[in-house]
């Protein structure tokens, strides 16, 4: 299991990069709060098939200081703009078996829409701005580092919607890559 520390330490963590399996339930428990009526947990898990090619192994690497700084910045922005009660963002590095959790986001807020919207906004930003890369190894042994088309968005940071915390009847982020 993970050596993630106490719930208090988890909630205070600016960013979490870990090399062990992520215990996502612990993240969800750690954002619970008397002030929060909504708790959202997103987990991203490694796919065994991508574009018809069976993947046998996946691994992630990061520019760690930069990734930590970017994760901390995004977390701060999410907490501020969505008025979150608590927020934990955790990404795993190294080899991750198919089906295991590679990324987990836990948010809590007084009401559900802010908690949902913040988790989705964070996930979109992580996938476009945080310097973490995935390597897929196919069953035939061919290893491929994944570098999506399009320019990195390091300098075009998209602001979270400004008024969502109180009036959140629609999706708050704009999908830049067209993913669902």
């Amino acid at each position: 299991m993970t050596a993630l520390g106490t719930d208090t330490e988890l909630r205070a963590a600016e960013s979490l990069l870990v090399w062990e399996p992520i215990d996502a339930a612990r993240l969800l428990a750690a954002v619970a709060d008397d002030a929060a009526g909504a708790n959202v947990l997103f987990t991203g898990t490694t796919r065994g098939v991508t574009d018809g090619v069976r993947t046998s192994r996946l691994a992630y690497e990061a520019h760690e200081p930069l990734a930590r700084a970017q994760l901390a910045r995004l977390r701060d922005e999410a907490i501020a703009h969505y008025a979150l009660t608590a927020c934990i963002v955790c990404h795993r590095l190294g080899e991750v078996a198919v089906g295991e959790t590679s990324v987990a986001i836990a948010t809590s807020a007084p009401h559900r829409r802010a908690a949902f919207a913040a988790a989705e906004w964070l996930m979109e930003r992580i996938k476009s701005e945080v310097p973490i890369w995935k390597c897929e190894e196919a069953v035939d042994g061919v290893r491929t580092w994944i570098h999506p088309d399009g320019l990195p968005q390091a300098n075009t940071t998209e602001e979270p919607a400004s008024n969502q915390a109180h009036d959140a009847n629609h999706a708050h982020h704009t999908n830049q890559d067209g993913a669902a």
């Binding site: 520019h63 990404h91 590679s102 996938k127 310097p131 320019l151 990195p152 390091a154």
Partner: protein, 94 residues
Amino acid sequence: MHEPRLSDHAATPTDLVRIRLFAGMAAAIGSRSLEVAWEGGTAAALRSLLIAEHPTLAPLLARSAVAIGDAYVTDDAVVPPGADVAIIPPVSGG
């Protein structure tokens, strides 16, 4: 005794810059870093220099961001000699 050296500066690593590489870029050249002669200039100029010196990296370099230390920098930012530079190709976390 040491020889007197009037131009110490010219021989020091401060006229170099070490560039960290990741993922597909490190795999492409079989190394996680590059060192190039560098007296300072913009991030865009550094990218152009690397494209000229390492054509195999050109397609990814053209789509990469530049970071110094733990921050991204814009193309017009000055990269001083000796800086902790990283080239950040399109990311695929999540």
